[in-house]
Point group: C2
Chain length 340, copies 2
DNA sequence: GCGCAATTTGCACGCGCGTGCAAGATCATT
DNA sequence: AATGATCTTGCACGCGCGTGCAAATTGCGC
C-alpha cells in the first residue's frame, strides 16, 4: 500500500530515514514506538505516519543488543510424542505473543544432554528459558544457572525443588488426591498405577501421592508400573507386556495413569490386546485432558490443568525484575467421563 | 546499572576478554569460532581454551546485527488441532537446529490476518519464514513479499502457485492417484471424499485429484464434503451430520479423507455415532501417517510424506544465496493398514 | 509578559561482532 | 640467504538502537 516510487524495495529503512522525513531526531522516532515514552502526541503522530509511508518498523535485533533485553524466551522440549505438548505450545505461544514475547522453539531430542540447547538459546540472549520437557536433570540446570547465561529458568507443568528455578505447575497432590477419591468412590479395588519417566529435577508427585493416598485409605499398596517416555505406544507395549500373562486371573480393575498420553495407550492395549472392555473390565484415568480424551473412542476421565492461568503467570514472572518465589501451584479440575 | 553490585559471575564475557587472556586480538578470537576461517591451529587452540576457562560463547545477537544474517527462521502455524503438526515441529526443529538454524515459533491463531505475525518475525530479522499452516491467503503473502521484510517465504507441505514463494510439498497428484488405485483395487464403489479448508495461496490438490481420477476410471463423480479446519472433532461432527440421516440406505462404502486428522474423526463418527464397523461397513483412508494412525484403534491406511527429505530441502534452500525454483515435489509412500 | 516547573527533544557513547583489506608471519624454492 | 607465494593476524568502521542526561520547549498562574 505504500510505494513512494523510489525503487528500493530491499533497503532496510532505519529510524534515521523516518526522522529525516518527519523532521525530528532519530531518538524521537524510536520514542514514538515506545509505549510509555515521553513524547508529545503531535510528534508521535508525525513520526508514525512518516514511518507508515516508508514502511519502517523498529529493529528488535538492534534494540536487543543495545538494551540487553530481547523479549525472547526459549521453549525447550524433549517430549514430542505426548500430544499434550501441542496444546501447551499453542497456549504458551499465543499468550506470550499477546504480551509481547516471542518464542524460540528448541528441540532437545537431538542434544546429548540439553546443555547444548541451553547454550544455544543463551547465544540468542533469551530473557528466559521455559522447560516443558522431562529429561532436565540437575546437571543441565546447574550448567545453565551456573554459567548465568540464562537469567530465568522456568519449569512449566512440573515441579522443581531447585531453588534457582521457577516452577509453574498444577498441584499434583491436590489433583491426585481428587482422582484417588474418584477411583475409590466408584468402587474400584485393584488399582495399578502407570507412571512415566522418573526425573530428579523436574518432578511429578502423582505416583507418590496416589500410592500414599491409596495405601492410607484402603490399607494396602497399589501396583505400580512405569515407562520411560510419555508415548502412547510405549504405554501400549508396557500394559500389554504386564497384563497379558495375567489375563483371566488377577487383573487390576482400574489403571490410574500419570497422564493422558499413557492412558490412551493403556486403553488401546486393554481393548485390542487383552480383548477387554473399558471401563467395564478395566477402567482407566488420565491427566491433562488432551483433545483426544474427549473423543467418543476414549471418553477419558482425566484432570484438566489451568493452562491459561499458568501461562499468564509466566508472563507476570517475565515482566518482574527480580525473581519471585520459586514455586507456583495451581488447581485444576477433574473431568469425569466414561472411562472410570 | 544493575542493582546490588555484588560479585556477579555472569559478566557477559566478550571476545575482548578472551582475546586478552589468550594474548591475541579480538578478531582472532571470533575466527576461532568460525568454521572455515583462516586461523592457525595453534591460535585456535589457545583461544578455545581461554574461552572455555572464561565461559565465553559468541553472541549471536551482535553477530546478526553486524552481518545482517541471523540464522533464524520463523515458523508460522495456525493449525494446532492437527496432530501432524507436532510431528512436523519435531522434525523441522531437529533438522534445522542440526544445520545451525534456530526457530522462532509464531502462533497465527490470535492474529487477525497473519500480517502482524509476519511483521513481528521480520522485526527479529529472520532469514526466512516457513509457513506450515493453512490460512495464508494472498493478502498475507503479498504483504510479506511486498514489504520485502522477509527475504524467503517457504510454504511447507502445501503447494503454492505464487511465484514469489518457495513451496516444498509432497506430490499430491501422485499420492492421491496411488490412493485412488488402492481404493479401486480393494473393490470400493461408493466413495465419499472428506476435504479440509479450501485456501487459495497454499493449496492441496488431493480433492481435485481424487475426483478427477475416480471420475475418469469409474465413470461417475464421487461425493465430496468438507470441513473448515483439520480438526478431528470437526470431522466427527460433519460425518455424523451428513451420514446419520442416510444410515440404512445408501451410505458410502469408503471415506477418503484429506488427512489423518479428518480420518480419525471420521472413524470415530462411523463407529460411535453410526454404530458401524471400519472397514467392514465403511472403510477410511487418511494422509500423513500420524502416530495415532498406527494405533490398534485406527490401523489407518494412509500416506506418509518424506518429512526428513523435505526438511533437508529447506536447509538447502536456506543455505543458497539466491532463490531457487519455487516448487519442490516429493514422493511419499502409501501405508496400507486395516482401515481400507 | 515573567518565572518556574513540567514536559519534550537532542545527543555522545556503547552494545558485541562482521567485513574487507593491509600488515605481518611463515614456508618452500632457488 | 633471499624472494615471492601463502597463510595468519590486526584493525577502522559500521550494524540500528538504548541509556542517561542536558538543552530546548511548553504550560501555567499571576
Amino acid at each position: 500500500m505504500d510505494e513512494d516510487g523510489s525503487a528500493r524495495p530491499q533497503t532496510a529503512v532505519t529510524a534515521d530515514d523516518v526522522a529525516r522525513r518527519a523532521g525530528v531526531s532519530r531518538w524521537t522516532v524510536n520514542r514514538a514506538f515506545k509505549k510509555d515514552a515521553s513524547i508529545s502526541a503531535r510528534s508521535r503522530e508525525k513520526v508514525l505516519s512518516a514511518a507508515a509511508e516508508l514502511g519502517y518498523v523498529p529493529d528488535l535485533l538492534a534494540a536487543s543488543l543495545a538494551s540487553s533485553r530481547s523479549r525472547l524466551v526459549a521453549l525447550l522440549i524433549d517430549d514430542f510424542a505426548n500430544p499434550h505438548k501441542l496444546v501447551m505450545l499453542e497456549r504458551l505461544t499465543r499468550i506470550l505473543q499477546h504480551a509481547g514475547w516471542d518464542t524460540l522453539l528448541v528441540n532437545m531430542l537431538s542434544e546429548d544432554d540439553g546443555r547444548d540447547a541451553l547454550m544455544n538459546a543463551s547465544q540468542r540472549r533469551v530473557d528466559a528459558a521455559i522447560l516443558i520437557g522431562i529429561q532436565f536433570d540437575d546437571k543441565v540446570l546447574a550448567a545453565a544457572l551456573g554459567a548465568r547465561r540464562v537469567r530465568k529458568l522456568i519449569i512449566f507443568a512440573r515441579s522443581s525443588q531447585n531453588a534457582e528455578t521457577i516452577s509453574i505447575a498444577v498441584d499434583d497432590v491436590a489433583a491426585m488426591t481428587e482422582i484417588t477419591s474418584h477411583v475409590i468412590d466408584r468402587g474400584y479395588a485393584r488399582p495399578m498405577f502407570l507412571a512415566g519417566p522418573q526425573t530428579y529435577s523436574a518432578h511429578l508427585l502423582r505416583k507418590e501421592t496416589f500410592v500414599a493416598q491409596w495405601t492410607a485409605r484402603v490399607g494396602r499398596a497399589p501396583e505400580v508400573i512405569s515407562v520411560e517416555t510419555y508415548d502412547p505406544a510405549r504405554a501400549f507395549d508396557r500394559v500389554h507386556q504386564v497384563l497379558a500373562p495375567r489375563n483371566g486371573r488377577g487383573l487390576p480393575d482400574v489403571l490410574v495413569c500419570e497422564n493422558d498420553a499413557l492412558a490412551i495407550g493403556a486403553i488401546d492395549a486393554v481393548r485390542h490386546k487383552l480383548g477387554l472392555r473399558v471401563p467395564e473390565d478395566i477402567a482407566v484415568t488420565g491427566f491433562d485432558d488432551v483433545p483426544l480424551a474427549s473423543s467418543p473412542n476414549y471418553r477419558l476421565t482425566t484432570y484438566r490443568q489451568p493452562l491459561t492461568a499458568m501461562a499468564n503467570r509466566i508472563v507476570e514472572i517475565l515482566n518482574e525484575d527480580r525473581e519471585p518465589g520459586n514455586h507456583c501451584d495451581f488447581l485444576g479440575q477433574i473431568v469425569s467421563r466414561d472411562s472410570a
